[in-house]
């Protein structure tokens, strides 16, 4: 029993919490997200098994490996997935791998162009059509995935710039999806990572991994557990972990690293968006947990008061 006056007031306050104007909650969330973005705390990033599996699977590829990256996200999920796209591109280019990009979402084309503009053109200054190519967007969802397991040329007669793919050196020995060494899907929903496992990874036995939104993680975990996917980069925390691992790899000189990548290290360190965002994410989570706890206390207090009267 609460005997003091303050205690009684506090219990009454808790009882009234469930009728709190939801706009106050929105405002509090807004403030707790905004403050760490303006005043970063620099909370440490610890890597997890899921991200490590994806990282090491890509890291184990030989220098001449060709990776197919599919962009299946748009501006709405850009904050979560775009940092992953940038980190994975940096990782692959820092090892000298070739990258073939395609998009199953119309908006994916813009995301791919933005990521390539930063990493391939501004940072690594690579040659289009030789070191990387953007095949662009094709409508058709899983039918396109199924299609490229038979023939790339039948589905992508031209790349995103309108060049015939027969004129692109990077595509010379790529006839089907079987000819790539790894498939990496940057996925925000359907069609996305699951479709890549179902229609390309499993039938062709090509390793598949994915960078995906948090909301998809539960759907994808069974594929990771069964070995059908080689780890996943899960949401913004995954992106921050991957960023950290790429930087650590170059800093500690682990595995294959090109000299260009070593020179670019300071820029990579400076442009760590996911890591910067994780402060806000962590603080917001703490506040939401607090809301849930208070909400539950409020529920029980109210029920007790109702029983009393």
């Amino acid at each position: 029993m609460v005997k003091s006056k303050f205690g009684e007031k506090f219990v009454n306050f808790l009882g009234k919490l469930d009728s709190l104007d939801r706009r106050i909650i929105f405002l509090i969330i807004g403030i707790v997200v905004l403050i760490p973005l303006l005043l970063p705390l620099g909370l440490p990033i610890e890597t997890t098994q899921l991200t490590e599996d994806a990282f090491y699977a890509l890291d184990a590829l030989p220098q001449d490996a060709k990776v197919l990256m599919s962009f299946e996200y748009g501006p709405s999920t850009k904050p979560e997935i775009h940092p992953m796209a940038i980190s994975v591109l940096r990782h692959l280019f820092s090892k000298g791998n070739k990258v073939i990009i395609m998009c199953l979402w119309p908006d994916g084309l813009f995301m791919a162009n933005e990521a390539l503009d930063l990493v391939a053109r501004q940072e690594f200054d690579l040659e289009y059509g030789v070191d990387y190519v953007n095949l662009g967007y094709r409508p058709g969802n899983e039918a396109i995935i199924k299609g490229i397991t038979k023939s790339f040329a039948a589905n992508f007669s031209i790349d995103a710039k309108g060049t015939s793919i027969s004129k692109l050196p990077i595509m010379n020995d790529i006839q089907t999806a079987r000819d790539v060494d790894f498939i990496f899907s940057l996925s925000a929903g359907y069609p996305g990572a699951i479709e890549w496992v179902l229609y390309a990874g499993d039938p062709l036995q090509v390793p598949v991994s994915s960078g995906n939104t948090s909301i998809q993680v539960n759907q994808l975990l069974p594929y990771v557990k069964s070995g059908q996917m080689k780890g996943i980069i899960a949401g913004m925390p995954g992106a921050a972990e991957y960023e950290t691992m790429v930087i650590r790899k170059i800093e500690e000189n682990i595995g294959i690293i090109t000299p260009e990548a070593r020179e670019l290290l300071p820029q990579f360190k400076e442009r760590r968006n996911a890591t910067k965002f994780m402060d806000a994410q962590s603080i917001a989570h703490l506040v939401i947990v607090l809301f849930i706890v208070l909400g539950n206390i409020s529920f029980f207090v109210k029920r007790r008061q109702q029983r009393k009267y």
Binding site: R23, F26, I29, G30, V33, L34, L37, L38, S76, T77, K78, P79, E80, P106, L109, G136, Y137, R138, P139, G140, E142, A143, K146, A153, N155, S157, I158, S164, S166, E195, V197, L198, Y199, D202, P203, T213, S214, I215, Q216, V217, N218, P222, Y223, K225, S226, G227, Q228, A234, G235, M236, P237, N273, F277, A280, Q281, A284, H285, I288
Partner: protein, 278 residues
């Protein structure tokens, strides 16, 4: 330079308009919502046409060919293309290279079987004409049949067989931790499946099994909710990051100016609405 600033102002305005819904439904939100729907539809349609229909359909029916070398049926066939060029020059281009006239799109080999896809595609558009709208069902039948067949194979192979195979785990692996993991996984799968088995009444021992299944499902839903919250916060962080970026001098203080204007308008509208109600 000016385009970049204009783009920032539009981005800030639309972001704040959508966020304003958290206060209440209002004219800014409705405006941004309608723009989003319209622009998305137009954007998708144009991208799909220029990336798929034009190069992959028309490009296979009429791949680029030298006009002087055409004869017989091909002469007639490319004559149709020329007619289309006269009507829609941008979609069906013709080019003179080194004084030689070429018709057609790209360098794919000609494949006239794509006429079937072309006709089925046209049938879909007949939905706009009620009298012959029934023809669109043929196209739909093809799409549904193809999708069902494609998915059935994928799901059976990867989801059903692949996942059953992954659940066949030893209960004792020689390591306590992994053995406990395997037991939890197997118990979770079996009890979860049993919860959806309705041919037997869930009472007695079966009720206990079913209840364990519910607990596993609740853990799944809880984890999904947690991930969903995490995702939404990430998106909010992304928008806030852009708003912070566009609040500087180089973008003409887009965020603070638009924020103040919108807050003032919303307050005035709410007051007006309240006074009208009174």
């Amino acid at each position: 330079m000016y385009i970049g600033i204009l783009g920032a102002w539009i981005a800030v305005f639309l972001t704040l308009s959508i966020l304003s819904y958290l206060y209440e439904d209002n004219v800014f939100y409705k405006f941004a919502e309608h723009i989003f729907v319209g622009v998305s539809a137009a954007h998708w349609a144009s991208i799909a046409f220029w990336n798929q229909v034009q190069p992959n359909l028309f490009g296979r029916l009429w791949p680029q060919a030298e006009v002087a070398a055409l004869d017989g049926f091909q002469k007639f066939w490319y004559g149709i293309y020329h007619g289309l060029h006269v009507l829609f020059g941008k979609i069906f281009p013709e080019a003179t290279i080194n004084g030689v006239l070429y018709r057609g799109i790209g360098d794919q080999p000609q494949n006239l079987s794509y006429l079937i896809a072309f006709v089925l595609g046209l049938f879909m558009l007949f939905r706009l004409i009620p009298k012959i709208g029934w023809l669109s069902r043929w196209s739909l039948a093809y799409v549904i049949g193809m999708a069902a067949g494609l998915r059935l194979y994928g799901y059976m192979s990867s989801d059903v067989i692949g996942q059953i195979h992954a659940t066949m785990l030893p209960l004792w692996t020689g390591n306590v931790g992994s053995s406990i993991n395997n037991i939890i996984l197997i118990v979770g799968v079996l009890t979860g499946l049993f919860y959806f088995f309705f041919s037997v009444e869930h009472k007695g021992a079966l009720k206990v099994v079913s209840r364990i299944g519910i607990y596993f499902l609740m853990v799944y839903f809880g984890a999904s909710f947690g991930f969903a919250v995490m995702g939404r916060i990430s998106l909010l962080i992304g928008r806030f990051n852009d708003l912070i970026l566009y609040s500087g001098k180089e973008y003409g203080f887009a965020t603070p100016i638009l924020l103040v204007v919108m807050v003032v308008v919303l307050i005035l509208t709410t007051r007006k609405k309240k006074s009208e109600e009174v």
